[in-house]
Symmetry: C2
Subunit: 508 residues, 2 copies
């Protein structure tokens, strides 16, 4: 049975390889299948750097782009036909182990055969060329897409779901649902008054409310103006722009490893919870009522910062006390990366969160919500496209593969190898690395300081590791779900090598 399954996947891999760079890959195919760290990687067994990164072809393209738009954040130019599995290939032919995966947005790595098979079907192609306005004339597959895909992985107890295009849009529409419900409760009527309708047209109270969203220091929830007012992970995202004067509460700054600092961390969380409580009381007193609270299970951009189930259960209890919508932002933590499909499954909440936002590895944006957050009047949660059924359809092979290939379990195992390896490295190089932390493969480690991080990151890229950064000075690991313990080991070796080099260069 296992052998049959392996054969089937073997054949799939052969098919999949045919897509990539037919000539080169077919030549190396037999070697690939014997030495690859996982079948999904096709012919790639490790990084191969032919040029510094960015290489000359990347540089040329980036220079040309720079005449038309901002390019300061670009690493290099990708060749996505040649990329495969955990390995990204750039236009200069460099092959890199990719633990960043397009800012944590590819669930199955590059060119996964199941996804490729899906996009070649005629039904799928029809979704691409006839993109519907989903809230006006949805496609006939939409109901079953919701029921058989989104609702199958819905957080327990959340019966409603709205698709949207991207993370920021999902967050903002969850905010809208929170504001609309809060005002209905406050007014004692779901219907706005004539005066409210009129003043809203002028952006004035009472129609335009002074309601606030409470979020956390170092949070990231997206960069549309509403989402950005709840975001505060990096000032360059925000400075010079108008923002809603929404308050922030401190997010616990825990000490790692968590098991060594149980009491300290509990104290820190209690301190934060008290602040949360006080922020709501104060803001409500000022007539700037908190209608919703949004929180990431692990702060993603802000530094891979964790908190305990106790902290999140307490947040939910506080929200309940003040009628505040409790919104869990799982845009980066969702879809198995922490070792559970949704990270908040670890919390053992007495009841579901009010809303859960998603995007990135879900391929479509959107949010799950409780029925009481569905507005009574049409057009309140609405825009032209309301998501994209062609993205939603891609979720089918993704969810199916996660199930059939046991990818959440694989991620849990790979994450353990990665995290214990990081802990070992920080023990070996304590002046250099600290605070290894994470859940599943969703992990990070602090580097001495920002300049050293920048330098290390460049060295890693040049050695063939594509990785992100986050927080003050942390390396951020966001591999795809096909990342294995072998990739974790490779990744740790690469990191240690570069640290040794830095040490030799007397950078410590």
């Amino acid at each position: 049975m296992a052998a049959l399954k392996l054969m089937t996947r073997f054949n799939s891999v052969k098919n999949e390889i045919r897509y990539a760079t037919p000539k080169a890959l077919r030549l190396s195919q037999s070697k690939a299948l014997s030495t690859a760290m996982c079948l999904e990687d096709g012919p790639y067994t490790g990084p191969v750097m032919k040029t510094p990164s960015p290489g000359p072809k990347s540089l040329e393209a980036l220079q040309e782009l720079a005449a038309m738009q901002m390019t300061g954040s670009m690493h290099f130019v990708g060749d996505y036909e040649k990329s495969q599995g955990n390995f990204i290939v750039d236009v200069d032919g460099n092959v890199m182990l990719d633990v960043y995966q397009q800012i944590a947005s590819l669930p199955l790595g590059y060119n996964h055969h199941a996804v490729r098979n899906k996009v070649e079907t005629q039904e799928y192609l029809s979704l691409l060329v006839n993109r519907p306005a989903m809230a006006v004339t949805p496609n006939y597959q939409y109901t079953s897409q919701l029921k058989d895909l989104l609702m199958k992985v819905a957080p327990k107890g959340l019966d409603c779901v709205q698709t949207l295009m991207c993370g920021a849009c999902s967050v903002e529409n969850a905010f809208k649902a929170a504001f609309i419900r809060y005002r209905a409760l406050q007014r004692g009527n779901i219907n706005p008054t004539e005066f409210e309708l009129r003043t809203a047209m002028d952006n004035q109270v009472p129609g335009s409310t002074n309601f606030c969203i409470l979020s956390f220091e170092n949070a990231f929830h997206g960069r549309a103006f509403g989402a950005l007012s709840a975001t505060c992970s990096n000032p360059i995202h925000k400075v010079d722009l108008p923002a809603f004067r929404w308050p922030k509460a401190p997010f616990p700054k825990l000490k790692y490893p968590l098991e060594d600092f149980v009491d300290d961390n509990r104290d820190e969380e209690s301190r934060c919870l008290e602040k949360v409580f006080n922020k709501i009381v104060t803001s409500n007193k000022e007539g700037r009522n908190i209608a919703g609270m949004i929180v990431e299970p692990i702060q993603g951009e802000g530094g891979n910062n964790s908190a305990s189930p106790y902290f999140f259960r307490s947040l939910q209890a506080i929200c309940k006390e003040f009628n505040v919508a409790f919104i869990v932002d799982e845009i980066q933590t969702g879809v198995g990366v922490t070792g559970k499909f949704w990270a908040h499954e670890y919390w053992d909440l007495p009841e579901p969160p009010d809303m859960v936002t998603f995007a990135k590895k879900m391929l479509t944006g959107g949010f799950y919500f409780k029925k009481e957050f569905m507005p009574a009047q049409p057009l309140r949660i609405f825009n032209t496209w309301m998501g994209d059924p062609s993205k939603l359809a891609l979720l089918e092979p993704v969810l199916e593969t996660i199930r059939s290939d046991d990818l959440i379990e694989r991620t849990r195992a790979a994450g353990e190898t990665l995290l214990s390896g990081l802990v070992k490295l920080q023990d070996l190089y304590p002046q250099f690395l600290s605070n290894a932390r994470g859940q599943g493969t969703f992990s990070a480690i602090d580097v001495k300081d920002k300049p050293t991080l920048t330098r290390l990151n460049m060295m890693l890229r040049n050695s063939g590791l594509e990785i992100g950064t986050c927080g003050t000075a942390a390396l951020r690991f966001r591999p795809a779900l096909i990342f294995t313990t072998k990739h974790a080991e490779l990744c740790l070796d690469m990191l240690e090598n570069e640290i040794k080099k830095l040490k030799e260069l007397k950078c410590l």
Copy 2:
């Protein structure tokens, strides 16, 4: 030569028909090609209603959906494999002439062969399965996609372009570019101070500015919180939500037909321009500086409201005087629908607008901008995806078809037929219809009042015409670019028929 071209297109149509509903369509193919109003319509020669709309299958699906999300705005459920050209087919087999085209977002109607051919290429499929984070590791085709697609149709004088996902996101990032530049000029330095960076993290001045965008009454610029603060076409979009306290200026309420009211309309425009000027002076004095102005060439959602080139030239002059970014929102007016590729080409501006936003028929969102609006620091205009290269790639067959099939000229001709027909109808039924207006096929006509409009709209849908509404009580025409004079005539006949029925029912 012409015959050869026709044969090529004939064969393309045959190919295209094979995609749709192979059995039914192949049977009617010979008939179709002799009687269709245009080749793109495949087998469809007119509406065929088998059930009331929404039919039983639509109703069943909508009911199922209603358990999971808002459905109040949904018309019916589409069958997009069977839809073709100007005709949308629903799950009950009803065939409708579609002059709404997914809220004006399909450029070439349904299942256009050129678009279908594109999505079947291997290179295109790779863009679907390997979606890059475009501002980190863009795909290698990106530079040429910008140069050969977006820049080829760029508004004259705008050398820079940023892709984004949707209209609202495009508008908000244009706002960001306006705010960033305004603050740099005001501060006399492109670099924010340490104090600004720190206060921005708390959503407080001076880092979070009090800058405003000036927009117009009845404007629609999208529904993210920033865009929504510039939008005011319908209070249900806005009520109960927080909004930036941005001001609105009156948009001219012109009398139609324009040529009969030249003096009155000029006076009205001058009145509005004075208000615009005063709004900027007042707001700036209050420390709520206007950093950008956004305006639609023809207000789309707000009622298909036009203004003259003089009005827009004057707006630009006022903007220049106050260093306000002049942003033209062409999300609904762009891509040929007014008879020019960009509607603002009619204005004969002395210099280009500072920024032009696009989405809908461009398939990708984004904005063109002058180089001085490119922020100096990376990550200021940034999000995970920054558009979608698979949408951008679809623009290639669209632009090619617009050129090869002379679709802007076709749209101009169809628009003339449509508008002159609407004028005739309002002369015949003056108690019922008024203010026929538009440019190209981008047109509308006022109906007596809102209840009558709602009733008429339902009757039209049941007779086989899918159409939108806008403004106070107007029918809104937003056909695709493959709409012809014959479709315009059909559409006018259908409208007249339903009005006659209403009249017989003594609704007048």
